[in-house]
Assembly symmetry: C2
């Protein structure tokens, strides 16, 4: 019954914990992690920790430098453009490859997330927004049975998601941006629910595609303010 997966479960737990900390900026870009501290926190030795860090490094969230430390990567929107472009294309595949019609329970979860979105709109909070966004993503992923697609989408999602928090948090119009973004997110959830109710999951894919693309465009515009008009 155990399937010898005792240590596998622990690996997964530590991995998800650290990934979440990085993506919620508990570990901001540039932050240096010490393997021994993590080993102590998770009541283990450096060996299993190093395996987790190696994977996070593979995924581009960390970078280990011999003799220096393990550093949370700092990324700019320009470096992420390619990832976003790919995410836009993959979004559409959710409803195209092995789509799974959600059962009543799952639809209910979508509704609950939407409700939490309404509550959030009344009392904006960046961290809660990021967390809600994450949960929505994972719920979306249940709509396809294509396991490789899920894995890859997840990987790319976590490569890009902290970028919004990072960009927004240091801007003057921070609170307005947040409120604005929450509104867009509410609309994505509403559109998604509507699409699900049509029974055509391809539409869900199209909705997602549109919103990922627009989300990137907003961030990009924020980082590259138009000088005014012309100029190639």
């Amino acid at each position: 019954m155990n399937k010898g997966s005792e240590s596998r479960a622990r690996f997964e737990r530590i991995y998800r914990t650290l990934r979440q900390r990085i993506c919620l900026l508990d570990y901001p870009p540039g932050r240096r992690l010490r393997e021994e501290d993590l080993a102590e926190e998770f009541k283990t030795s450096r060996t299993p920790i190093r395996r987790v860090l190696a994977r996070l490094e593979d995924e581009g969230l960390l970078r280990s430098v011999h003799g220096v430390g393990t550093i949370v990567t700092d990324i700019h929107i320009d470096d992420l453009q390619q990832v976003y472009q790919l995410r836009v294309e993959l979004a559409e595949l959710i409803g195209k490859l092995a789509p799974v019609m959600p059962d009543r329970r799952t639809i209910e979860e979508f509704r609950e997330l939407e409700a939490r979105g309404r509550a959030l709109a009344k009392r904006p909070d960046a961290r809660e927004f990021a967390r809600l966004n994450m949960e929505f993503f994972h719920l979306l992923m249940t709509l396809t049975a294509n396991e490789p697609l899920r894995e890859i989408s997840e990987r790319l999602y976590y490569q890009t998601t902290r970028n919004w928090l990072k960009t927004a948090s240091r801007l003057a119009q921070y609170r307005e941006m947040l409120r604005n973004e929450i509104r867009f997110f509410q609309r994505e959830m509403a559109d998604t629910l509507a699409a699900i109710e049509t029974g055509d999951l391809q539409v869900v894919g199209h909705v997602r595609r549109a919103h990922v693309a627009m989300s990137f465009a907003r961030l990009y515009a924020e980082a590259h303010p138009v000088v005014c008009n012309e100029q190639s």
Copy 2:
């Protein structure tokens, strides 16, 4: 200058070596690898080897079992169907996301591969076919500058590529299948060259998509012989 990448280079070298051995069936499915043997072969300790094995396990080529060994995964075409479906979709993106027009040198390399394909057709050899197929794949990947797309396509390619060798090698009509497959591969290369010469890399993507889909269909048909006619 060294950038401390001494050990990173070694990691990459061992990783590619083992991956190739798995995909050329030097390590056939079910084969058990011993960490200590590999450590000795590559003149190092188990520690760096384990990092390589962990990554190969992440990618689905190996599976480590505590107390038993590290085993090359055995996969059936049915498990790979989802991967193939995704590969079909991704193939098209080569020419869509950040396409890079090949320079004269690269086109020359395509021509060389095609020439080797002609030579191969005269003296069929499964192993050489697999190797040529791999080189062609890597050359195709130079046609997009989208790094995440390249990484992911590579990962999925190596998850599926050994399946042809495995399926074919135990079939009666082995030599005929091989000759047939080589002919198809020649056509893919010829089509690709023609597409490149049109200057439209989207066409290259369409060609690739078609051939990946057909290649999977042939394998699938081989594994699921039609009983004769009807029957759902």
